[in-house]
């Protein structure tokens, strides 16, 4: 396991040839479209369009589509976790009031 990930022979950068980058991207997108067609039950994952505007460094939160994911168990204290759950419930209730 690398302690530090620097550039070395074991961990060289992946460099795409510029003239085939478009092809490789097209191939990946075609696979995703195919996947979307066959997995229509999970449209939210397979056909989610990219926002018209790309996010950027001044978009700290707004671009996050997965920002509400819960942290993995054990990554935060139980107190914090309980507080977070309480707060989510509270926000949810306020929104429905």
């Amino acid at each position: 396991m690398h302690k530090n990930a620097t550039c070395n022979s074991e961990n060289e950068a992946t460099a795409l040839k510029s003239n085939d980058t478009r092809d490789r991207l097209a191939r990946i997108r075609a696979i995703n479209e195919q996947s979307a067609a066959t997995q229509s039950a999970d449209k939210s994952q397979a056909t989610r369009p990219v926002r018209k505007f790309a996010d950027h460094k001044f978009r700290a939160i707004t671009g996050s589509t997965r920002g509400s994911r819960k942290p993995a168990p054990g990554t935060i204290s139980r107190t914090t976790s309980l507080l977070q759950r309480f707060w989510r419930r509270e926000v949810s209730m306020r929104r429905t009031r």
Binding site: T21, R22, R29, V50, T62
Partner: protein, 379 residues
């Protein structure tokens, strides 16, 4: 102007004061010791101008940013929120955001954020030794302790932590330490900005071709650590790039290249568009990027300002060249004007260090990952 020109205000950045209570070594802002605070009259005029714009849609984000927004008392924002509601007669959906160094967060701020459902993003660069290397007070002391006190208070108040870390060469060499730190602190919404050549920050520790490899290696390792840990951590750079690789197209645009999509106001009422950093920049060719002032003109009039037209024409040319020449255009949208100007001296250009790192190397990494995944799936 191009045929696709459809201005739409998406992000409004207001600088309530240029002042920052700390003095980060990589900061691009020249005026961060200036303690002037925006007055109520100017703020009212900004709101008036934004809400009267014909280019306002059904929603926008309001970001309080640059210097340190929390250096202005919480009372100011309480009044600002009340004024904002008064001006918002069309009931437009507004999300308020704060980007803060977290050193001034106290219970009063947490109460305010909670009451107004404000989104708060903090700036922690990583573990103490990495954070304190650059994020320092004016006397040169590290701010890690103060900032983490603020973060923990937010957590105790049930707020999730969104964080922006600035990546320097030193932090790029320590992905394990970075990952372990953020995970152990329960900071699970991560964004990484790279140290840039911008404004008065003329030299970055990250700049040569070797750093492209280092940058990519950093994210490869972070992705590996995330996968191994099973932790649900959002990493803007990786997850957004994965979306763009899978679903992107040449229709993608950058908010920073589209007129009026981003509006930036300083505490004098000056207004700019495109990259928010441009508001404080002076330049031999373009002069400056203050395209108007709320006391003399509406924001829509920016589109007729001569300085704007010169800048916009060059930005359009630069984006067109990106579209024609760069194979990464569909995951980028044409680069960022402030980086093009700072690195190449003009908007009418394509590649920058910023895009070689944050777009090209990340795209290469994600493409490789996607291809491996598809091989595994379809073999």
């Amino acid at each position: 102007m191009s045929n696709t020109f459809q201005p739409r205000i998406s992000l409004v950045v207001i600088q309530p004061s240029p002042f920052c209570n700390i003095d980060c070594r990589y900061c691009y802002l020249a005026d961060r010791a200036n303690q002037k605070v925006i007055d109520e009259r100017t703020l009212d005029k900004i709101f008036e101008r934004v809400f009267e714009s014909e280019h306002l849609g059904e929603r926008f984000s309001l970001l309080w940013h640059a210097g340190e927004p929390l250096a202005v008392p919480v009372d100011f924002y309480e009044k600002a929120c009340a004024r904002l509601r008064q001006f918002n007669r069309r009931n437009i959906r507004i999300k308020q955001h704060f980007q803060t160094n977290a050193t001034l967060i106290n219970q009063a701020w947490c109460d305010f954020f909670t009451a107004h459902e404000a989104h708060v993003s903090v700036s922690i660069d990583g573990p103490r030794q990495i954070h304190d290397a650059n994020r320092v007070t004016r006397s040169g002391r590290g701010t890690f302790e103060q900032a983490m006190r603020g973060v923990r208070l937010m957590q105790q108040n049930g707020m999730s932590i969104h964080n922006i870390a600035v990546l320097t060469r030193a932090s790029l060499e320590q992905p394990d330490e970075m990952w372990n730190f953020f995970l152990s602190e329960g900071i699970t919404n991560l964004k990484f900005n790279v140290e840039e050549v911008e404004g008065i920050h003329a030299e970055s520790s990250v700049r040569d071709s070797e750093d492209r490899d280092r940058y990519q290696a950093f994210f490869r390792r972070i992705a590996e650590l995330r996968k191994r840990s099973g932790a649900k951590v959002w990493i803007r750079e990786l997850d957004q790039m994965a979306d763009r690789v899978r679903f992107g197209s040449d229709e993608l645009e950058s908010e920073l290249n589209v007129p009026l999509a981003t509006l930036s106001f300083d505490c004098e009422g000056n207004v700019s568009t495109f990259s928010p950093e441009l508001l404080t920049v002076r330049h031999a060719k373009y002069q400056h990027f203050k395209f108007g002032n709320v006391f003399t003109s509406g924001v829509d009039e920016i589109l007729h300002n001569e300085l704007f037209l010169t800048a916009h024409a060059d930005i359009e040319r630069g984006v067109s060249r990106c579209r024609a020449e760069c194979p990464y255009f569909s995951v980028c949208g044409g680069g960022e004007p402030s980086n093009k100007l700072a690195e190449n001296g003009t908007f009418d250009c394509t590649e920058t260090m910023h895009c070689r790192l944050t777009i090209q190397s990340l795209c290469d990494l994600v493409v490789q990952d996607e291809e491996s995944a598809s091989v595994a799936t379809f073999a």
